[in-house]
Symmetry: C2
Subunit: 166 residues, 2 copies
Amino acid sequence: MPKPANTELRKFEKSLPIALLRSREVTTRLFKPFLESHDLTMPQWRVLRALADADALDAKTLAERCVILPPSLTRIFRGLTQRGLIAQVECNDARRHMVRLTEEGRAMFEEVVEESEPTYLQLAAAFGPERLDTLLDLLNELRNTVQAMGEQSEEEAPLRKVAGRR
Amino acid sequence: MPKPANTELRKFEKSLPIALLRSREVTTRLFKPFLESHDLTMPQWRVLRALADADALDAKTLAERCVILPPSLTRIFRGLTQRGLIAQVECNDARRHMVRLTEEGRAMFEEVVEESEPTYLQLAAAFGPERLDTLLDLLNELRNTVQAMGEQSEEEAPLRKVAGRR
DNA sequence: TATTGTTATACTCTATAACTATA
DNA sequence: TATAGTTATAGAGTATAACAATA
């Protein structure tokens, strides 16, 4: 039973939400200059990056995939469309707002990737490429695990609301 | 060379900042109800949690440890002090704003920990306790790695500013 | 002169509810 | 009636610069 038993460390350093936040903070800071030089915010970049992997996506999919709430996405669509980086795409279901990258959007995406690639490789080299892979796998699996927990508890208690305010 | 070679996955699913964001999002969502029932925001909670591990901490340390900018921390201090959860502590250096948990603050901290513990254990069980440990270690080491990279590049180019806006 | 923290300010993101339009 | 998205709005976080107090 090699449990470190250091309650203090376990409580702060080993708090999962806090560890995720702090890791994200330094990582984001590392790559943010590449976005700022193109006048892109992180959420805008997530949208471009998601679109780069697909022909076209609707707002609901992008909201889920990029962790952006619908009202924010509406504004992001407006900004990116005005700048000519994305464009709306016809869709059978007229309710859906479906968008794709324009040529300019694709070009900017490639530029950012190219410019930030050396930093990414430097990080991979410093951290260890195989450990980085492990970390990414664990992160994606953690998400699946937690999401499964959420669905499960919703089945058991569809009307949860956990605890009353105050 | 068993590299999946799936460019699409590598680009989005394997983007480190995005993976960290998405994992944090679901994890935060899982624990947020326990904070909301005590009218605590996540940043407020991080401050309480950091203080629970130490007798007293100054603003600078808390800002770094909890990833909160000084102006936000000022407001958080005000809120938590008004509610009697933290209190200022005398300090040799009069510039420093040093705070500690009050008894009420400690009590609320313990309450939240107790209430959320079952969910934490459920997550650990579902994900695998040893994998959770691995993940936490990797996250903390990633932070160290990136921070070291930042310090290094500052030495090399103390006057960076990366790229001009527009 | 450097450091610590606060104030001021602007902008973005977060979150919810209400509304419009399509299906 | 249910779904997709927008609008409206309030609140919280993010970020910078300017300032005050202390070292």
